[in-house]
Point group: C2
Chain length 229, copies 2
Amino acid sequence: MRTTFHAELDELTTELAGMSRLAAQMMTNASIALHQTDLALAGMVIAEGEQMNARQNDTDRRCITLLALQAPVAGDLRVVIAALHASGHLKRMGNLARHIAVIARLKHPNPMIANEVRPVLARMGLLASQLAEDAATAIEHQDPLSGCRLAVSDDEVDTLRRHLFGILFAEDWPHGVERAVDAALIGRYYERFSDHAVSIARQVCYMATGRMAEPTASWRASDAAPCPP
Amino acid sequence: MRTTFHAELDELTTELAGMSRLAAQMMTNASIALHQTDLALAGMVIAEGEQMNARQNDTDRRCITLLALQAPVAGDLRVVIAALHASGHLKRMGNLARHIAVIARLKHPNPMIANEVRPVLARMGLLASQLAEDAATAIEHQDPLSGCRLAVSDDEVDTLRRHLFGILFAEDWPHGVERAVDAALIGRYYERFSDHAVSIARQVCYMATGRMAEPTASWRASDAAPCPP
C-alpha cells in the first residue's frame, strides 16, 4: 500500500516537472511567434494552454485523492501540499505564455516588436523559459539549492523590465502609445511568468525541507547556504 | 474532537472572509490614493500588504495542520483544499492592490490619472472592491450561487478594460506614453484582482458542491441554475 503510495508521489512530481517543461516550451514558442509574427506557432501555444489547464485539473484531483485515501503526514504531506500550490503556478505560467501568443496573433501580419525593444524582450523571453526549465529540474531533484538559485535569474528579469520601461518612456520613442503599451504588457507577462517559476522553487524548498524559503537578498547572494527559513 | 475540528473549519472560513474584506478595503484605499494622490493612504495599503501575506502564511499553516492531525475526507477535505487555494488568491489580490498604491506613491505629487481615463478607472476600482466584498459574502454563506454571480461583474471589468485601451490608443490621446502605460497597467491590476475574486467564488462552489464551476457564458447568463459542472 505504502509502496504504491510512494510510487504515486513520484508520479506526481514527475508530472509537475513535465508541466514545467511544457510551460518552458510554450513560452519559447510564444516568444518566437511574437518576434517572427508566426501565426501557426501562436495557435499552437494557445492550444497548449488548454492542455496545461487539463493537466492542472488532473494534478489537483490526484492530490485530493491522495489526501483522502492515504492521509499522508510529514514529508509525504508536504509533497502533496507543494504539488497543489505548484500546479496552480504552472497553470498561470501557461496562461501567461498564451497571453503573449494571443498578442502575436492579434497584431499579425504587422511586426509588433519595435527594433528598440527587440533585444530586451528577447532576453526576457529566454530567461523566462530557462526559469521554467530550471524549475522542472528543481522539482525532479527535489533540491532546494537549485530551486533557490532561480531567484538570481528572476532578478535579471526584473532589471530588464525596468530597462524596457526606460526605453518606452524616453522622449525619442518613435512608435506611439499602442506599441509601447503592448511591449509593457509583454514585459509584465514575462516578469509574472518568472515570478511563478521562483514560487515553484520555494515550494520545492518546502517539499524538501519543510521550510518555505523567502527570496531574500542574502539567499540570492549565496548558494552555499541551505534554504533560509 | 470532531466538534473542535468543525469549529476550526468554521474559523478557517471566517478568516478567509476576513481576508477578502481586507483585500476589498486595500483596493478601495489604493484607488482613493491613486485618484487623490494621497501618500499616507498609499503607505497604509502597502503596510497592509504585509499583513495579508502574514495571514496567508498563517492560513496555509492551519490548513496543513488540519490535514496532518484530522485527515479530513469528503466535504471537510474540500473546505481545507478550497481554503488553501483561496488564501493564495487573496495574497495575490493584496499584492495587486499594493501595486496600485506603489504607483500612486511613485508618481506623487503629480496627479497621475488623466481626466480622459478617470471615470473608467474609478468604475474598475469600484467593481474590483465590490467583487472582493462579494467573495467574502460567498465564503461566509458557502453559497455557490452568490459566488457564481461574481462572474457578471467580472465581465464588466473586462469590458471596461477594453474601453480603457480604446481611449489610450486613440490618435488624440494627449498625455504621452508613460501615462498611457501606467493607466494600462493599473487596468491590468484591476482586471487580475477581479479574476482572483471569481476564482475564489469557484472555490466556494467546489467547497459547497464538490464541483469546480467553470465560468462559462451560460453560467453567467443564468443565476437560477446551480453551479454547472
